[in-house]
Amino acid sequence: MSNQMSNRMSNQTIICRCEDVTLEEIQNLIAEGLTTIDEIKRLSRCGMGPCQGRNCRPLLMNELARATGQDVREMKMPAFRPPTKPIKLGILLGQAGREENCQERADRGEGS
């Protein structure tokens, strides 16, 4: 709670909301000499959360363009790998976790 309060006081701008990466953190990394989406992603986890960069990538590209003078059209994109969204290990394995999933579905059915 107190952490949240101080966040508010500092008026942070969030670039990656999945991984809570701020504009300030991105600007610091660029100031250290990083110039690509991939480098920034690896050091800050920007774009590595559940949405896989769908929300933050355009914002990060704009900031890189603004700070380094790169043309967004020429910017090197990171690799896009499956899966496109988070998936439970149980589903990937095809066995474990089935009971729980059935329970979740039953819960959803009651709710709607």
């Binding site: 942070q12 701008t13 929300n55 933050c56 994109m77 790998r81 899966p83 998936i87 976790g97």
Partner: protein
């Protein structure tokens, strides 16, 4: 053990583009598997309670939600289409030509002979201080909340963006009894149709062009916003700040194509701002640079549902034809679809789209 299903044409996404592709490909005789992550087909049409413009061929004056129903019924009536709802595509494996998806809590695979990607687009966000406060939504998300789930987002809204989505959602907020404090637009001109803009203006909502959001305020949720004016170089002008008391901030600053699967498949991509971001290079038949992979709708360039439907029809016909299926009039149907696209994109409204499309021809 995971077995690989087979199909002639797999279509990812059952929005206006995907449904139209399924209808045309299956009508030509191809076996089609249509995958969509939602429990019902229609994509974003299911929340569009307003009537469409355009020509009769693209359901002008029919409400989006009814178009979704009509298209879905049309596809359901075709025996050679398998519809997989609640099936989320997780990836495309280029080497094997296999599409992986999650359905019924199972990891499944399908190997299609042709693939049509119609995944649509996602909402863009904005970077400003406190942009993570609860109460800040994408305008499309608000439309879903209200029109699909019957939930109003709050009492008083600042709409950021005066394109068609910003204007239409503002009107629908007013219809739901929510106050709209203002619509602000960074560009010097309103982006959406003036008929929509006039409607919200008549209801007393100011539309401020060359204005943007400076920051949001609030302790645990949005309590207000500071907006400021932009000069002709799009730079904010200090001293022009205005405070608005709002509990919702709606971001309607455009869409980005959902192109992950195209990147995974190795399709040549190009960044085209006029089309919303990275889009695939494609032929006039909507085939990407990877033979057998076609695109349709917003993933090929952010446009409108009407052109998405025609592109879908075109991609479906082309994919079926490449498999040897052909209605006797296939060439005529393809020509007709291309003519319709041309007419949808003609005039000053389509200028930006035409400029974008000129960059992605194969």
């Amino acid at each position: 053990m995971i077995c690989v299903q087979r199909t002639e044409i797999a279509i990812v996404g059952a929005g206006p583009a995907g449904l139209s592709a399924a209808a045309s490909a299956a009508s030509a005789g191809a076996a089609v598997t249509l995958l969509d992550r939602q429990e019902q087909c229609g994509g974003q049409l299911i929340k569009q309670t307003h009537a469409f413009f355009g020509s009769e061929k693209q359901y002008a004056s029919v409400r989006g939600i009814d178009i979704a129903r009509l298209l879905t019924e049309q596809v359901r009536a075709l025996p050679n289409v398998e519809i997989l709802n609640e099936a989320t595509v997780l990836g495309y494996y280029q080497d094997d030509g296999v599409l992986a998806f999650e359905k019924d809590d199972r990891f499944q695979k399908i190997k299609p002979e042709r693939l049509i990607i119609a995944t649509g687009a996602s909402e863009r966000t904005l970077a400003f201080p406190n942009n993570d406060l609860p109460g800040i939504y994408g305008a499309g998300a608000v439309q879903t909340l209200m029109n699909v789930y019957g939930v109003v987002p709050g009492r008083r809204v600042l709409m950021v963006g005066a394109g068609n989505i910003g204007l239409i959602v503002s009107y629908q907020l007013l219809q739901a009894g929510v106050e709209v404090a203002a619509i602000i637009e960074a560009a010097p001109k309103i982006g959406g149709y003036l008929v929509h803009a006039a409607k919200v203006r008549r209801m007393g909502v100011p539309i401020l062009t060359s204005w943007t959001i400076k920051m949001a305020h609030g302790q645990d949720a949005v309590e207000g916003a500071t907006i400021w004016q932009l000069d002709e170089k799009w730079q904010p002008v200090p001293g022009t700040e205005r405070e608005l008391e709002v509990d919702v901030i709606c971001i309607a600053v455009g869409l980005s194509p959902l192109a992950e699967l195209l990147w995974q498949a190795g399709c040549a991509m190009k960044y085209v701002p006029e089309l919303g971001g990275h889009v695939p290079v494609r032929s006039e038949l909507m085939e990407t640079t990877v033979p057998g992979i076609y695109v349709a709708g917003d993933v090929a360039g952010v446009e409108e549902a009407s052109s998405a439907m025609v592109e879908g029809r075109l991609a479906g016909l082309a994919a079926a034809q490449s498999l040897g299926y052909g209605l006797t009039d296939a060439a005529g149907l393809i020509e007709e679809a291309q003519r319709q696209l041309e007419s949808l994109r003609c005039g000053p409204v389509g200028e930006k789209i035409r400029r974008g499309l000129a960059q992605v021809g194969r």
